[in-house]
């Protein structure tokens, strides 16, 4: 299997799906000639032409509003938001129309749309380029919010997103875009949306994360396992909404302990919902309070301080140890 970065793996998914399905179109700012500011759409316009790979005028709401129309009209648009920090301009279109069209038309009109957006910190980026606000999207019924953590699952989840019958927000952890490579099979591989993945089975504690926080979390989990001879069940959430409550709560019923690591702000972040689901379905199995490691409820600091603020390996380690020792 070839080894590739997340950028290459997403690019592969787009190439393969565009080749296979002539209704798939890619649009966004600088996605054509330039191949995207992160080169995720590199080579697509050359291969599939400017009618299917469109450099749009600079207008996020315009990109998504017209994508909603294209989707209702029989195309499968994969729209790019250059950075998630500019994507809030699409919320009116998505909330009022994209998310509701199936309901409002009783299934007559549907919006099979994917909105890709790089998100997250740790790359010394400019203001508005480092936030993790998956909750905005996850709070919108009718919209699915997906976050891959590595090249292989990014490719497989993006294929699922493009084939999904509903709008999917696909948040790409840009910190992981080129940070590491993984083997990605040439042949098609699809992961289901709405399912978390048990990366590693274990009995003593459940650790849940997603996106770029997975890498940090895996490192800490590996160390703790060895140091303490502990067995950890590690879950990659992958879909933020609709959330896979069964995988989470079954795991917690088994381990009795849980730590959640998220890059998002604390208040009403996905961890809040996970804890509520554990409360609903597995409270009596708990041996310790569920802990969460999160970004604070403040504006994402500029990059001079961002590493102090992002969940660190130290913070993750202390949360896991305190939960194990409770």
């Amino acid at each position: 299997m070839p080894k590739m970065t997340m950028v290459q793996a997403i690019n592969l998914a787009l190439h393969q799906e565009m080749k296979k399905d002539p209704t798939v179109v890619v649009l966004g700012e600088d996605v054509g000639v330039n191949g995207g500011v992160f080169r995720v759409t590199d080579g697509l316009q050359k291969e599939y032409g400017a009618d299917r790979v469109m450099d749009t005028p600079l207008a996020e709401s315009g990109i998504i509003g017209s994508s909603i129309g294209m989707a209702m009209g029989g195309l499968k648009p994969v729209a790019e938001m250059q950075f998630s920090g500019f994507a809030y301009l699409i919320l009116p279109q998505l909330e009022a129309n994209g998310a509701r069209m199936r309901t409002r038309s009783r299934g007559q009109h549907t919006v099979p749309l994917v909105v890709r957006m790089p998100y997250g910190g740790g790359v010394r980026a400019l203001e508005h380029h480092s936030e993790s606000k998956e909750s905005y999207w996850a709070h919108t019924p009718g919209v699915k919010t997906v976050i891959p953590s590595g090249p292989r699952n990014a490719r497989a989840l993006l294929l699922a997103a493009i084939r999904d019958p509903d709008p999917v927000i696909f948040m790409e952890p840009k910190h992981s875009y080129r940070a590491f490579k993984e083997e990605v099979p040439e042949e098609e591989e699809v992961l289901p949306i709405g399912k978390a993945q048990i990366v590693e089975e274990g009995n003593d504690i459940t650790v849940i994360s997603w996106g770029s926080m997975m890498r940090q979390t895996i490192k800490v989990v590996d160390q703790i396992k060895e140091e303490r001879n502990t067995s950890v069940e590690l879950i990659d959430l992958m879909t933020i909404a609709p959330m896979d409550y069964k995988t989470i709560t079954e795991s917690v019923k088994k381990t009795g302990r849980c730590v959640i690591v998220q890059e998002a702000h604390q208040t009403l972040g996905p961890a809040s919902e996970i804890i509520a689901l554990i409360n609903d379905h597995a409270l009596m199995y708990l041996e310790a309070p569920v802990k969460r490691v999160t970004m604070y409820d403040i504006q994402m600091p500029l990059f001079g301080r961002e590493n102090m603020y992002l969940p660190s390996q130290g913070k993750i380690r202390r949360a896991i140890e305190e939960t194990l020792d409770f």
Binding site: E29, D55, A59, A125, E127, H128, M308
Partner: protein
């Protein structure tokens, strides 16, 4: 019934000082030597500072920066007719204009070096911070000038800058319309630099000009040579005069060129021809401004050398200040989240400091 003509419109283009330094004497604005020299000095300082910051960025001493090189006439000349208590609302490609508004040089380094401490102008509280989210700031300029008027500040106006790329954003349409409907004293300056990252002006809009949009909003509009400091000054001065007299907003399209990459993270060789850049080099605003001052007999090589030396020492002082700064307080990002104190934020601040202490101990 035959169709009737309900209106005919035209769009003016203004150039006063051409690329060869020829000046149209009839249109030449009455600017004092002092103002002319001030304008040139800031244009020059902007250019030098950009070059210096580019080096700092390449050496990893600051983060990603957008450069304003080539557009100095557009933003400096448009800022020249302003009073200190007019509202100045920029985007992120108006470096020299921010300096004209009294922003300390070091603030730009702090901001692009990753510190919130640099993201405001301590010397002029009618200057807004850099607006990264394109086009969003135009509406603020409308609101600011509306507020000034309602508060009885008859003489106050606002200016805002945006680009040809941002002109496609919905907010820009809304801002122009609101300004016109409310007749606010707002001066809109579109720095049409031909490129929005890799997207050329030609696929941003199919219209002949951005200036002509003014017609659709029922306001005054004009296109000017954005590399001609005198034309930009004259058009903006007239717009401010009209605004102050209660005659409403103006849209000025300053036709210029982004000589460098979009930001230091961008590689324009991927999408634009170098010959185009070469063509625009000949239209450089600094060259023609310098020639104009020399022809007027108020500038010479000796003064140029003095200015270069002075600007260099000011820039180096700022770099030194930036690099020898005291470590800022780590929890400063908690300070300005709200204007009121909240226990949950303070609890998080304490937890942050405790975590930082533990992380540092174990590092």
């Amino acid at each position: 019934m035959p169709k009737k003509k309900i209106g005919t419109f035209s769009v003016e283009y203004l150039q006063i000082l051409d690329e060869n330094g020829n000046v149209d004497k009839k249109l030449e604005p009455k600017l004092s030597d002092k103002d002319l020299l001030k304008l040139y000095e800031y244009m020059f300082m902007s250019r030098e500072y950009d070059h210096r910051m580019l080096k700092l960025q390449r050496q990893g001493r600051i983060g990603t920066i957008p450069l304003s090189i080539g557009q100095e006439a557009a933003f400096c000349s448009a800022t020249l007719p302003m009073k200190d208590d007019d509202w100045w609302v920029g985007s992120y490609r108006e470096l020299g204009a921010r300096l004209m508004r009294g922003e300390p040089l070091v603030n730009t380094l702090l901001y692009y070096g990753g510190y919130e401490e640099g993201s405001f102008n301590p010397n002029n509280d009618r200057t807004l911070p850099i607006a990264v989210v394109l086009g969003s700031q135009l509406l603020h300029a409308v609101g600011l000038s509306y507020a000034s008027r309602l508060k009885g500040e008859k003489d106050t106006a606002s200016i805002c800058f945006f680009g040809d790329g941002a002109s496609s954003e919905g907010d820009v349409h809304e801002a122009l319309n609101f300004a016109s409907v409310w007749n606010t004293p707002t001066v809109f300056v579109c720095q049409n630099n031909q490129w929005a990252i890799s997207t050329p002006r030609g696929i941003q809009t199919k219209a002949e000009s951005i200036a002509q949009r003014a017609i659709g909003y029922g306001m005054k509009g004009i296109q000017v040579d954005g590399n001609d400091p005198l034309a930009v000054y004259s058009a903006t001065k007239e717009a401010f005069d009209r605004a102050r007299k209660g005659e409403g907003p103006t849209l000025i399209e300053a036709v210029t060129y982004r000589m460098m990459m979009h930001t230091t993270a961008d590689d324009p060789t991927k999408y634009r021809d170098d010959s185009e850049v070469k063509e625009w080099e000949a239209k450089d605003p600094l060259i023609r401004m310098k020639k104009y001052l020399e022809d007027k007999g108020i500038w010479n090589e000796e003064k140029q050398e003095e200015l270069a030396k002075d600007v260099k020492s000011r820039i180096e002082a700022a770099v030194k200040e930036f690099e020898s700064r005291e470590e800022f307080k780590p929890d400063a990002p908690f300070d300005y989240v709200y204007g009121t104190t909240h226990e949950i934020i303070e609890e998080q601040r304490e937890r942050f400091l405790e975590d930082l202490r533990k992380d540092t101990e174990n590092a």
